[in-house]
Subunit: 332 residues, 2 copies
Amino acid sequence: MSVTIKDIAKLAGVSHTTVSRALNDSPLINPETKERIKAIAGSMNYTPNYSARSLVLDRSYNLGLFFTTLHTGTSAGFLYEAIKGVNDVIKDDYNLIVRGIDDYKSFHKVNRKNFDGIIVMSQSESDQSFIEYASDKEIPLVVLNRPVESVQVMNFVPDDQSGAYRLTEYLVQQGHRHIAIIEGKKGFKSTQARRDGYCEALRKHGISVPETYFVSGNYDLESGHAAMSKLLELPDRPTAVFCCNDDMALGAVKAVTERGLSVPEDISVAGFDDHLFSAFMSPALTTVRRPIEELSRAGAEKLLKFIETKHSEKSVVLFHTELVIRDSVKSL
Amino acid sequence: MSVTIKDIAKLAGVSHTTVSRALNDSPLINPETKERIKAIAGSMNYTPNYSARSLVLDRSYNLGLFFTTLHTGTSAGFLYEAIKGVNDVIKDDYNLIVRGIDDYKSFHKVNRKNFDGIIVMSQSESDQSFIEYASDKEIPLVVLNRPVESVQVMNFVPDDQSGAYRLTEYLVQQGHRHIAIIEGKKGFKSTQARRDGYCEALRKHGISVPETYFVSGNYDLESGHAAMSKLLELPDRPTAVFCCNDDMALGAVKAVTERGLSVPEDISVAGFDDHLFSAFMSPALTTVRRPIEELSRAGAEKLLKFIETKHSEKSVVLFHTELVIRDSVKSL
DNA sequence: CATAGAAATGCACACGTTAACAATGCTATT
DNA sequence: AATAGCATTGTTAACGTGTGCATTTCTATG
């Protein structure tokens, strides 16, 4: 039913090979016939059958963008920026396939035949088996957002720890000594890194905080709200709270205002990520910017280059995170 | 390099035809040999080559999820919910390909060979050409979010107009008579529908507002902020503002608090969409819930059923929108 | 015992594309 | 004029899978 190169060949009075070569701009073909064939193809509205091409070329034209999960733990802004970044880079001739790793019962269908390359937006060490699997199958692979040690891969990660360090240090510089932390989802690497940065800064400045200042969350709005509610009940209420992402910070601010208190007058709040909405919160959120879109773009570019040249350094590249000072932290 | 059915055949001492049939659970095959072959396939770690299968079966195993754009106009929450909804439904044997329609230079590569089915999250009439193209190519097609008249397609849309009507009516019932609107992106169908619902409610209650109460936005945070800033400068400042989505509402609230005013004491604000963060704004946002995730899920289910059975009613199905009353509107 | 028919398997081709190799005609060099 | 070599095109096979039809073997029926 649909047009094939053989149909074109018949009409042009040449062999289908010649058509194939002409359409692929082979230098073997006489420029005139090439033009003629292209014209015919155009007029017949020809589109190549990618399955056939894939079969013989052993390429799928599929690129996978995998997240740890599409459920709790992955915020909307994170997903959005990642897709946008990757999508901006990949050429017209790749399909971008989006998927949560935890949606796979078996990785069976993930192989070189089905994916020309894979980008993993890794948030948790639970992805490890997937990453190792893909690496083992020799699928071109870029891992973003989380450092991977066990396997050699192209690896781009934002420097969460130093971001958290600088933010916490900033809180200290503003005169805060009672600084609590609302942590991210358990098991996520970023959770650990941000906590480490926080602890490091406190230690450096000789500040110690009670255990009750460590409250767990899971990166979503509700958990931020719940965690802050706990903190506000404390007899020795903190003067500042570092929320490990902006979503939780929004929830936390809510918990404060609900009690008739206000940010930053009664308590200071800081976040992490710098999502789109953070600048528009009331008060505008002091946070740490993580360049997710840039990271995704860089990752996609690297992957494409690797697919083309089959060559690249497999090492961890740290992306700079940046302290963004706004209005949610009071100077004491 | 990778295992094929012929390799299995050799090992099992049968023809590759038998292997193919066995793995596809054909009733033609002796149950015992079938089991034996399956065992061998498993031990050899066989995965079918989808390109080859696609070629002969004329199916791509690709499902497309297309947005009007991945840039301004599509909010993170919208993208997130849509992907989540669709992803929850599609079986393990489909690839979900995500893409912005405005990223295509030519629709060339969109055809039945490359897509078993397409879901269009349509926000603008600019998608019309794409929808007609896909429909013309006889690709199984579901259009979500925006009613389509020119072509017969499966079409699921939230009832934005009546949602906006009820919300506006609610504002009136709370005693507001000076109600402004911050509109959505020009050219988007939803912009029109929400405006219509707003106007209808005002008319019904015999309220007229000055032209200056219609301020244009484009569904993003900045535009909400800018629009509200304008409104606040007005000599006859409105007592309530209907923002055509939650993102703009957040931006609008920001503009209010920046001026030392507060919501809802000095001015009431309402939104539209009910994104995840809306309940956690301060104050919690009164808005209209649009069941995007459910819509996406329903759309995906419908599409899969159609692909299987080749049969379905092509008509518009309205999804109910729901007024969500929170704390951002004051009773006068 | 002959035979019809069912059950199980194999043969051969098709899907649409690319590419190694062969073939042809032409030009330039000796 | 013979030939080497280039430019251009065609022949043919290959990629891995599914399926119509033929073939073989076995069972049941008369």
